[in-house]
Symmetry: C2
Subunit: 258 residues, 2 copies
């Protein structure tokens, strides 16, 4: 099994090392990840400036390729120019911090996996639910198991799995649940501060407003110490509203002319 | 009607001026847009560094507020700290270049509108289908009409409208169609070049592979000179795969323990 590994925390992060180490037991692993931290970059891609690719070493050993761009860039240039052919699977992570509910939208980790799905490569995004995450071992083991399952069962083109793992030792994990994206959102607060020259600047902070209360949602599952696996896709069409809008009374500007 | 206007091409772009000018005829307009071009930034938000907000003038007149961040940042900080209350509607655009099919995923224009939808504010993203777009007038007029319709009919929380307008004079527009996100994707090519010091760098280019051939898709609609209106949302759950995965034969690592 040929496995492409990426992330958004940057190639030097402990999460990606733990993931690559475990995946090497089940396949040929190539790491292509951002040179610097790219959290919350969403699905940004680099077009206006060029990208550079460098070999990256950890503890004196070749670890992978560092790209001075975004997670989505890593997958694109990785598949097109570095490995030159699609891998059997892309695994993005292990992210330091959960990517559930609204956070999926902002996540660079998920975007790397989504870029793979766009390129018709099966993909998994994996996160541990704590920015100071300590328990990568179980998440890495589970990623390897899931990778085998995905390659065996296949995923529909355009679908990826978004996996969130509680930051706990394996024996404290309550189980694994198939979930849907939750509705919890951030209550954003921009702290207003003054710089040394008396000018205002604003720093984003806030807290997640818990709006999920069933184990069918990713956010509630992880809060209850379950691993959450959510199949997501990038068909953003709201089909329900599409149907509802047919009954809107459109003014002449909107009428078909032919 | 209180209208917040943003974009991703930057506050100095002709598209946002044409939009603001037309919307002023139907409501109170406040422009809060990126200081610099933010195309293809997706749904990136700024967390690791602070934001600055400056008053921006065009031809000596106050035009709006420039934020040195992403389109999504503009909506967040705009609603939280600049206008301090939700507007009746957010309109993002007019983008120079189409945002159909896969481009929706990378689009900063759409992300500004989506951030509004996340904040439960009705929103519209508007693009004209040409990077050197010249015909903003009809798109601006249509945006104003659509804004009135949206405020009158409402949109479900979390849904936004993604509008694409052919770069044509009004009399050449074939009509207006309600559409779904198309399946056309980019065939990416990274041009490999050498810098003056002999080191490689890579520049993203490519061409859109047309995969849509019915007028129910945004991409085919604009190719046939129709305006395309697509309702989109940010519930990324793939419900079909969610159901299908229930029949996967999960190994013990995945079993519920309680």
């Amino acid at each position: 099994m040929k496995i492409l590994v990426s992330n958004d925390d940057g190639i030097d992060s402990p999460g990606i090392s733990a993931l690559a180490k475990e995946l090497k037991k089940i396949g040929d692993v190539i790491v292509i990840a951002p040179l610097t931290e790219q959290s919350a970059v969403g699905h940004a891609i680099t077009m206006k400036i060029p990208l550079r690719v460098t070999e990256y070493y950890k503890n004196g050993d070749f670890f992978g390729y560092a790209v001075d761009g975004t997670p989505a860039d890593c997958i694109k240039i990785g598949i097109r120019n570095i490995i030159n052919e699609p891998p059997d699977i892309v695994i993005s992570g292990i992210n330091h911090g959960s990517n559930t509910a609204i956070n999926i939208i902002y996540s660079g980790t998920v975007s790397a996996a989504r870029e793979a799905a766009i390129m018709d490569v099966p993909a998994i995004a994996v996160s541990v639910t704590n920015h100071d995450a300590k328990h990568f071992e179980y998440a890495a083991k589970l990623s390897a198991e899931l990778a085998k399952l995905v390659v065996k069962n296949g995923l529909p083109n355009g679908t990826l799995l978004n996996v969130n793992v509680p930051d706990l030792p394996e024996e404290k994990i309550a189980g694994v649940l198939l979930t849907q994206q939750g509705k919890s959102k951030w209550d954003d607060i921009y702290e207003e501060r003054k710089d040394p020259y008396g000018k205002n600047y604003y720093w984003l902070t806030g807290k997640l407003m818990e709006a999920d209360n069933t184990l069918e949602t990713d956010q509630f599952a992880i809060r209850n110490n379950f691993v959450s696996i959510t199949p997501i896709h990038f068909d953003l069409t709201d089909y329900k509203t599409y149907d509802a809008m047919r009954s809107w009374n459109l003014p002449d500007t909107f009428k078909k002319k032919n």
